[in-house]
């Protein structure tokens, strides 16, 4: 039994039962299939995380986000600027203790290049209620190509623990038709 040495000393030569063999083959091919699914989705699927990443200093990223915001601000909301970039534009959103800045207004069905980075600790970009979650690091600028397919008011919750104010860190994205 399993607690004692195998009864047959040459256990490695004993044949494998048919049922076990069948299951091993099924499980193996299921694994290959699941692997293939990920690869195929990269080729054919519409939801893949971009690999476009640059090193950037927090100060530089802050500067760029400020320039972007200045250029596109259309109004204020809860004391924060709302930036409305034109479709296809380079869009910036920075994270810092404890806010996502600025608020964005995007157009449904249009594609944007969203630049994400953090000025201090790691944060979690969690777009709700869509449920898109992307990790945000300081020092790395992640450029994500995003196409909203719904309109309405969306929130960016921080879902990476970032200290005592973590649960107050909420940002906003509006999507208009």
């Amino acid at each position: 039994m399993a607690l004692t040495s195998p009864e047959s000393k040459i256990w490695w030569n004993l044949p494998i039962g048919r049922a076990e063999l069948v299951w091993i083959v099924i499980a193996f091919f299921w694994g290959v299939f699941m692997f293939g699914m990920m690869v195929w989705w990269h080729l054919e699927g519409n939801q893949n995380l971009s690999n476009e990443v640059y090193r950037i200093s927090p100060a530089k990223f802050e500067e760029r986000t400020e320039a972007f915001t200045e250029k596109y601000t259309v109004r204020e909301e809860a004391g924060m600027p709302v930036a409305k970039p034109e479709p296809g534009a380079e869009v910036y959103m920075l994270s810092r203790l404890w806010e996502w800045w600025p608020i964005l207004e995007l157009k449904k069905g249009q594609t944007y290049r969203l630049h994400l980075s953090s000025l201090d600790w790691q944060h979690g970009f969690s777009l709700q209620p869509v449920n898109i979650n992307i990790q945000v690091h300081p020092g790395l600028e992640h450029v994500v190509t995003l196409t909203p397919t719904q309109s309405g008011e969306f929130s960016v919750v921080c879902n990476e623990f970032c200290g005592e104010g973590h649960h107050t860190m909420v940002g906003r994205i509006h999507v208009v038709d």
Partner: protein, 577 residues
């Protein structure tokens, strides 16, 4: 002590031992004391960590919202630390000593160093705990840089890890002694092989831990100015996630051990079961990938390969055990005479024996809740919908609580009579314990996964965002999930508390066990009526296991359906490229 110790030669040199009345094995008293110490330490930390878990769950239950935010993050850090690291690893050290010295009929290598290891682990665990409780180290047990804890937090974990590493080497040393002194014949038992798998992975993961935690400690002391955030995660999780494969190997070994003790079950095929263990070692890869699927700065190719453990070959190992373990039970039970219909073997299994009930529940809950959710969560693109939501703790409470913790509880019901030589006190109560804990653990897993699917983030104090400038309203279903999670947590805490009380009381006040009552002390077992049908294993013609085939077919169907449902959800997400 009721048993007289003898002095004699075991494993080459003179040592004190007793002869086990159940098996006739020579039990090295030094090994026995160390197993006891490590198991007791483990259970104490489980009790502490479990209380922390309950407090966390009651805070996340929005209607109760027990703790203030700073305490919540503190307690959550302590919870992760005490259960995932301290409880599990102390118990694993006990399992390693048991699977080597006891099962191989050998003395333990260097018991003195084993005590040093124990001391280091204890000091480390206490140091880390005290630092967290002082309030300056609420960085979660993962301590992602640049979040910084005081140096003693890292030092505590490092000391604990060094102790555990020593324990691994003592296990390996014992295997060497047993082999040289020929204390057993042929190959090591399957359970020891499983423990060896766990040990090898442990050495790899602890080394990774040292590689990242020592610089982080120096950084916290001010000697190093910068630690790369992505690199930190990559190496930290080479410890944190790969070490889950230690749990896996240890718990699978226990899944084989308990039916062997209670039912006389044998593996269907030694070759298949051992190869499946081997796959854990060979295809472990950098399991860190599971925590970095939506991280910037890492290529998709790397993510896809590593998240699937090299085309799911380690998952294949688990799926193989998933058939061979119920198969071994079915074969043994059919051999015991329960041959009617497809499921008599299962119906008439010793469900009133907490060791068996715990083991079987652990197997089923691990497979259906933990295994399936793990593969889905670890699919590169699907992870976009689930990363850092409560789905993640939901998944790993199915693996590490409903799976590993329940399996460890189950084997404890046998260690008490076999090693502590005491009967389980209050067997009627003990009978219910695995069901209470299993139900509670299944509940917290499912409801956290449910909340995560609705987007609720993990490690988050307030999903009403009452202090935030901007806000967000989660759907009412999310609040319902967290409420149900809180109720399940209470159930799990009762089940866990019951376990701690029963075991501590049994060890202190249980009736002594000797040759006259050892078999009864193992709890109810089915009437044994060995027939010829199962005497010879490994011969394809001798058995037919329809019940197992049906169970495996149900599992596989659930797996495939759930997998595709998630791809469907993903396809409805905003487009990302």
């Amino acid at each position: 002590m009721s048993v007289t110790a003898e002095t004699g030669i075991i494993g080459g040199i003179a040592a004190k031992f007793r002869t086990c009345p159940a098996t006739g094995l020579k039990v090295d008293l030094a090994a026995e004391r160390l197993i006891k110490a490590n198991a007791v330490a483990a259970i104490v930390f489980l009790a502490i960590g479990g209380v922390f878990g309950l407090l966390v769950a009651l805070t996340r239950w929005q209607a109760v919202h027990l703790l203030p935010s700073d305490l919540f993050y503190l307690v959550l850090t302590a919870h992760g630390l005490d259960v995932l690291l301290v409880w599990i690893i102390f118990f694993e050290i006990a399992v390693l000593y048991f699977a080597s010295a006891i099962l191989l009929n050998c003395r333990l290598a260097t018991p003195r160093i084993a005590w040093v290891a124990f001391g280091l682990m204890m000091v480390g665990a206490l140091l880390a705990n005290i630092t967290v409780l002082q309030g300056e180290a609420s960085v979660m047990f993962t301590s992602y840089v640049p979040l910084k804890a005081p140096p003693n937090f890292y030092l505590g974990i490092i000391l604990f890890a060094v102790g555990a590493l020593l324990g691994c080497f003592i296990f390996l040393g014992t295997l060497v002694i047993a082999k040289e002194e020929k204390t057993y014949e042929g190959s090591i038992p399957l359970v020891t092989f499983g423990a060896l798998t766990a040990c090898i992975i442990a050495v790899f993961t602890i080394a990774s831990g040292a590689i990242i935690l020592i610089p982080t400690w120096l950084w916290s002391l001010g000697y190093i100015s910068h630690i790369d955030t992505v690199m930190y995660k990559l190496v930290w999780w080479a410890m944190g996630h790969s070490s889950q494969q230690i749990n896996m190997a240890a718990q699978v070994a226990i899944w084989y051990a308990i039916p062997a003790i209670l039912l006389g079950a044998k593996p269907l095929s030694e070759k298949v079961s051992r190869s499946a263990f081997l796959m854990y070692i060979l295809f472990l890869q950098l399991a860190s990938a599971h925590h970095m699927l939506v991280e910037p700065g890492i290529s998709s190719e790397w993510k896809v390969f590593n998240t699937s453990y090299a085309i799911y070959l380690a998952v294949l190992g688990s799926m193989i055990h998933g058939m061979s373990i119920p198969g071994a039970i079915e074969a043994a039970q059919r051999g015991n005479g329960f041959t009617n219909g497809v499921f008599e073997w299962l119906r008439r299994a010793p469900w009133n024996n907490p060791a068996f009930a715990g083991m079987f529940l652990s197997l089923v809950l691990f497979g259906f809740l933990g295994g399936i959710s793990g593969v889905v969560l670890g699919t590169e693109q699907i992870n976009i919908m689930l990363h850092n939501t409560l789905y993640v703790p939901g998944h790993f409470h199915a693996t590490v609580v409903a799976g590993t913790t329940l399996a460890f509880m189950a084997i404890t019901y046998l260690l008490v009579p076999l090693i502590f030589q005491r009967e389980i006190i209050w067997p009627k109560l003990a009978k219910w314990q695995p069901y209470l804990f299993g139900l509670g653990a299944a509940g917290i897993s499912l409801f956290m996964m449910g909340a995560g699917t609705l987007g609720v983030s993990r490690r988050h104090w307030d999903i009403t965002f009452s202090d935030a400038t901007l806000s967000f309203d989660y759907p009412p279903a999310a609040f319902l999930m967290l409420g149900l999670n809180g109720m399940s947590a209470i159930l799990a805490a009762i089940g866990g508390g019951l376990f701690v009380v029963i075991i501590v009381a049994s060890v202190l006040f249980g009736k002594k066990v000797d040759a006259s009552n050892i078999v009864a002390a193992l709890g109810p077992t089915p009437q044994k009526q060995m027939s010829d049908a199962v005497k010879s294993y490994g011969n394809a013609g001798t058995f037919h296991l329809p019940g197992t085939y049906i169970l495996v077919a149900i599992f596989f169907t659930a797996f495939v359906l759930y997998y595709f449902v998630n791809w469907k959800y993903l396809s409805e997400l905003w487009q990302l490229g």
